[in-house]
């Protein structure tokens, strides 16, 4: 008897979800609720606002309107699966789940369905090997690059040598947080520093014991791979044990305004990596002038908002590229894959788009889906309440990363019987 009501339900859902015709469909798997909403909301705002701007200003891309389908995942893989399945049938072109867990889940599924997955600065690092991961793109930078850039920067800070230094990684106990550990272990062997990883369990509101451990061991530097509420708590706890903020550095997902503001003046000097620096981009003015902003509009110009905007911009550039390659304006998901693979980002084009300097220059190829592998280091100024760029784009240490990518992607290919392409 339960089954009958289920069928009725499923039937009604099939009627409701009738596909609309002839649009460029971009699903936005966002999370505006739960412990990760602090990061999910601005990203989704930026992602949607830029597409809205294109619709309004340019009439879409190549004359085709963009239709966003937002689906709330709450950073939960089960809801992510529901969102993926419910939007896939509408002709979804590309997925940007903003969750490493969901990315791992979607890599085989999206590959089987021929839909590209654009995991900008997160997800599975070894997906930068495009020969194995044909449908997955993680440019412009990935976690292993991030670990290497952080170590490179710290090496400079310590006068060119990390011999005998203690570096601790505070990580979110998930696929996301664990990603940099093998790289940092390899780098520790290379540079001779002592590496220790300390896990923080989801959602990360309780970190007393971790910081007690840090207080006892007094590492020279603490790196953080955190997200959502974990960032705010970690910075507050660091302030509580008087850990020097300038020795504390987060990855790009742990370096937004929302992460440092709750600790007030105590967070002054906290550092973070970033690949979409804060600047006065002219395009932000256009977005503000557009009215009808996604969300409450308060996030425009913040770190994560800019990154969502960058993701939308790279996607729209790839759509334009795909339209150019295939000579049709109404492209399909596999055609967009070709567009993503042929994407090339130059400073001249960025300036033209009103966002000069928002991304390092890079070009994607069949072998390399990983892009530039560059990021800057920025520092929080609590008085002015702004992130200040400390460095220019720093490149990662490919000597260490390339072999790791090779072995991990080859293991994946062997496990799933994938023939390397290109």
């Amino acid at each position: 008897m339960k089954m009958k009501s289920l069928i009725a339900l499923a039937l009604s859902s099939a009627f409701i979800a009738t596909p609309a015709a002839a649009d460029l469909v971009i699903p936005d798997l966002s999370y505006r609720t739960g412990p990760y909403a602090a990061g999910g909301t601005p990203f989704s705002d930026g992602y949607q606002d830029y597409f809205k701007l294109l619709n309004k200003r340019d009439g879409g891309i190549g004359g085709e309107q963009i239709r966003i389908i937002e689906c709330e995942t709450g950073f939960n893989t089960e809801k992510g699966v529901e969102c993926y399945e419910s939007t896939k049938g509408e002709g979804a072109l590309v997925y940007q789940p903003l969750s490493t867990g969901m990315t791992y889940q979607l890599i085989p599924k999206a590959t089987a369905d021929g839909i590209p997955l654009f995991t900008m600065g997160y997800g599975r690092t070894s997906a930068e090997n495009g020969a194995v991961f044909r449908n997955v793109f993680n440019f412009p930078v990935n976690y292993w690059d991030g670990a290497s850039i952080a170590v490179k920067y710290l090496k400079d800070q310590h006068g060119g040598s990390l011999e005998g230094k203690k570096i601790t990684l505070l990580y979110h106990n998930s696929g996301y947080g664990k990603e940099p550990i093998p790289t940092l272990e390899a780098l520790a062997a290379k540079h001779g520093f002592k590496f220790k990883a300390i896990a923080v369990d989801h959602p990360g509101q309780e970190q007393k014991s971790q910081w007690l451990q840090i207080r006892r061991e007094r590492p020279d530097n603490v790196l953080m791979w955190g997200w959502g509420v974990m960032n705010q708590v970690a910075i507050q706890e660091a302030a509580n044990i008087n850990y020097p903020m300038e020795n504390f550095m987060g990855v790009w997902w742990s370096g937004a305004e929302i992460d440092v503001l709750p600790a007030g003046g105590a967070s002054n000097g906290y550092k973070a990596l970033n690949f979409s620096p804060i600047k006065d981009y002219p395009v932000l003015e256009e977005i503000k002038a557009m009215g009808d902003l996604t969300g409450d509009g308060s996030n425009v110009g913040s770190v994560i908002y800019n990154r969502g905007m960058l993701a939308a911009m790279l996607t729209s550039e790839a759509i334009a590229k795909a339209q150019e390659i295939h000579g049709v304006s109404e492209i399909s998901a596999p055609q967009l894959r070709d567009g993503l693979e042929a994407l090339s980002v130059t400073e001249a084009r960025l300036v033209e788009l009103g966002m000069g300097g928002i991304s390092p220059e890079f070009s994607v190829s069949c072998q390399n889906h990983g892009g530039a592998g560059q990021a800057i280091v920025q520092q929080w100024d609590a008085d002015a309440k702004v992130w200040k760029a400390l460095t220019d784009y720093i490149s990662s240490d490919q000597d260490v990363i390339a072999p790791l990518v090779k072995s991990d992607s080859e293991a994946y290919a062997a496990e799933n019987k994938i023939e390397a392409g290109c």
Binding site: K2, L6, T33, C71, G89, Y104, Q105, E179
Partner: protein, 358 residues
Amino acid sequence: MLYRESGDFKTSYKADNQTFPIAFDRYRYWVVLAVAYLVIPFVITDYWASAILVPFLIYSIAAIGLNILAGYCGQVSLGTGGFMAVGAYACYKLMTAFPEVNILIHIVLSGGVTALVGAAFGLPSLRIKGFYLAVATLAAQFFLVWLFNKVPWFFNYSASGQISAPEREFLGVAVTGPNTSAWASYLVCLVFVTACAIIARNLTRGSLGRQWMSIRDMDIAAEIIGVNPLRAKLSAFAISSFFIGISGALFFAVYLGAIEVGEAFGINKSLLVLFMVIIGGLGSIFGSFAGAAFLVCLPVILKLIGVDLLGWPTDLVAHLQLVLIGFLIMFFLIKEPHGLAQLWNVIKEKLRLWPFPH
């Protein structure tokens, strides 16, 4: 009118004790099975399977498992998520260690492994009960999740600590991995659900089930009349964990395909399955299905109505869902503490007399 019972005589004890003694119930049971096996596999789409039917079937198994422990034997457990994780990781280790062995055998074996773990964590139930036992099983929940995060052997030393199900076939049809068709994953789950429900139903009305229920109703009296509490309680833990392990293995291998233990099998999962059992009805197999259907379908229906039909913001609908589920749990606990199953029984009793009530 619906239940025409006149002339439906029972002439043997066997007929009198069958699962569906009323003819109408029996026919409906066969119709449901026929639709589930012969109709749905031909019309199912990816969305139906992944969003509604497969999770419903898998959660039904978990709810049946927990219902055996909490509903029939009266031992409250908050370790369901942890036991599901045992099933998932056992399945993963077996799948990768013995790729040539059939996946369905692995899923059953994962249930067996979970049964052993469950029985071990059931040992404290011999000394403590009620809230104190709930806390002990909560420890199992946290310990197991911590273990699968901490020891790299469980996730085959992968860099991210995730496990993902490789492709496995049954009779030449992929049942795990990305190329599985919707009907295949649905049918695998359906077969397990049917088997589990029949086994559970027959266990609970046999001597073992009666022992569990006597322990639940009053353990000292049960001991006096000759029920061995050690055997009854540990068997309840083992059999309950067996079902939960199967559901965990299916959850990982057939439904999600890739799992992060803290996220997929956290305390939220334990509470979700517990809510299913409470809303569905403690001590009822039908209640397990009703509770699972309710909690799987409700968010999807809310989303369909709120977002797709009314065009409300997605975050508003997500928050509304939390409010509504919380409200419904309170409502059921106050108005119908025996859950949807009891609600259904009341309706059925009325229908049997309708249209000529006394």
